[in-house]
């Protein structure tokens, strides 16, 4: 059978879009690799009745998820590795099913709501166990109820460091410091205030103060030390271009770092969707006012169209859902979306990544963790005639490994001296050759869904 709509991604954008379309009468499936809906922001433990369920938005999100479950097929634990467009114009979504076997889902329309992941920057020792991305620390805490460490240093840039640090502190970790590489003015002049988020900023400030967590701007974790795992970090005071002015060593067992986010757009790229450069240079999917991408039949919502936070994502999902169901989109929604986008863009401007981080690296600092490519080999590739990130990758292998450059892609682009280009990843998730072989005609049978092909409703 062919769904009217297949949504990829079970975060705020995907759930809102799927539910809106399902309520309008469309036959909808939502696919997510996780065991539960929520995405990165509304990640929650299996037993969610307790603890932070009352947290802003989560309880409401969970209700939406329940309603969606009644009206749509939820294909959880399904990893989408490729989407192709068929001759008739509809789409086949190729997944690894929960048991690793091939599952193909057909759709007349698609909503890409695949979110974003942390954007890490390399620094000496960043591959030591105990160094986590900020999102990784958050996932341990919110998704698993695990406090990532006892003595934790939080670093990077952007407002996301605040919920991570306060979450860790409230869960009992000793947060030794929040080191924000930008700013220079401290929490008292935090951009959230200027953007009308005084309540949110004040809440974080109060929590940090209650747990005696220092918040320091123009500081960064520039090296991690230890043998088998992290035992200390070097924290540097930075100038406004992030060059190191002075350093000191802080003993800790865990580090959470994040320098913004990387929108996950590869499924859109597989379909040929057009892209644009976001304020921070990230390639994102181009969408019109109704969240339509440049490919007819494909919509996108949330971070893949530009990072702006969960509320904006949800709005975009609702707008996409209306548009997909060919319903009018209320002006109140689009106006709120446009304000949200302006806010997201302002945050990206307030928390840029400055070039000085490249000076934190040593010749032997790994740039690519998967293929263990140190900075020296990247330089050697440039010396051999690699004038762009792609040829650096071809000559020195950064980005050739398991993660396909998701982790190091931004850094390699910077080191190659060019803005980040959209990365073609025809295989978006590893797929076993056995499963691929069983897709011999390109479309395996779909055990997850009803084979009867009848029109929706």
């Amino acid at each position: 059978m062919t769904y009217d709509l297949v949504v990829i991604g079970g975060g705020p954008a995907g759930v809102a879009g799927a539910l809106t379309a399902a309520l309008a009468g469309l036959r909808v499936a939502l696919i997510d690799s996780g065991a539960r809906l929520g995405g990165q922001y509304f990640r929650h433990a299996a037993a969610h009745g307790t603890g932070h369920a009352a947290e802003s938005g989560l309880a409401r999100f969970l209700r939406l998820g329940e309603r969606l479950g009644e009206r749509a097929d939820l294909l959880l634990r399904h990893q989408v590795w490729h989407i192709s467009q068929n001759d008739g114009g509809d789409f086949t979504v190729h997944c690894n099913g929960p048991d690793g076997g091939p599952v193909a889902v057909r759709a007349r329309r698609l909503l890409i709501a695949t979110g974003a992941h942390d954007r890490p920057l390399p620094f000496p020792g960043w591959d030591l166990p105990g160094v986590l991305t900020a999102g990784g620390a958050q996932a341990l805490l919110k998704g698993n109820g695990v406090v990532p460490g006892r003595r934790v240093v939080v670093g990077g840039t952007g407002p996301f460091l605040l919920p991570v640090a306060t979450g860790l502190a409230e869960a009992g970790a000793r947060v030794l410091g929040v080191y924000e590489a930008n700013g220079g003015l401290g929490l008292a002049r935090h951009p959230l205030l200027a953007m009308g988020k005084a309540g949110e900023a004040a809440g974080y400030a109060a929590t940090l103060a209650r747990h005696l967590v220092p918040y320091r701007t123009r500081r960064a974790v520039v090296a991690a030390h230890g043998e088998r795992e992290v035992q200390a970090v070097t924290v540097a005071r930075l100038d406004q271009d992030w060059n190191v002015l002075a350093t000191r060593v802080v003993e800790c067992d865990t580090v959470a770092v994040g320098y913004g986010f990387v929108p996950q757009i590869e499924l859109g790229l597989q379909l040929g969707c057009g892209t644009r450069q976001d304020v921070d240079g990230s390639p994102v999917l181009s969408v019109d006012s109704a969240q339509r991408t440049t490919v007819p039949g494909v919509w996108a919502a949330g971070e893949p169209t530009g990072v702006g936070g969960w509320q904006l994502s949800e709005l975009e999902g609702r707008i996409a859902g209306r548009s997909i169901a060919e319903r009018p989109v209320a002006g109140v929604l689009t106006r709120r979306r446009d304000r949200g986008r302006a806010f997201g863009a302002a945050l990206q401007r307030a928390y840029p990544v400055k070039a000085g981080w490249q000076g934190w690296l040593r010749a032997d600092t790994l740039v690519c963790r998967c293929e263990e490519v140190p900075l020296a080999r990247v330089r050697e590739a440039r010396d051999l005639g690699a004038t762009d990130a792609r040829s650096v990758k071809l000559l020195a292998r950064p980005g050739m490994g398991w993660c396909q450059g998701r982790i190091c892609g931004y850094a390699v682009s910077c080191l190659a001296g060019e803005p980040q280009q959209p990365s073609r990843r025809p295989i978006a998730q590893p797929v076993s050759l056995g499963a691929l072989a069983d897709t011999a005609d390109g479309i395996p049978d779909d055990p997850a869904t009803d084979p009867v092909d009848d029109p929706a409703h």
Partner: protein
Amino acid sequence: MTFHITIDGRQVPVVPGQTIGAALHAAGVRSWRTTRFGGRPRGLFCGIGVCFDCLISVNGRAPERACLLEAAPGDEVTTS
């Protein structure tokens, strides 16, 4: 309501719904494989299925991402 998995024969407690990576990390096991070239220890990094640092072999299967894989009672994982 916890159950156990084993890593190289050692028991590790799991709260239902936790991933294998989270259970190991909570038990103080922070690395479970070494890299191909430098022999560097690897455990959780991105925690959300993107970086593949946390690959681990469960019940003899090909390595999977420990941060995505929900632990099941009796799972046996091996370091490499």
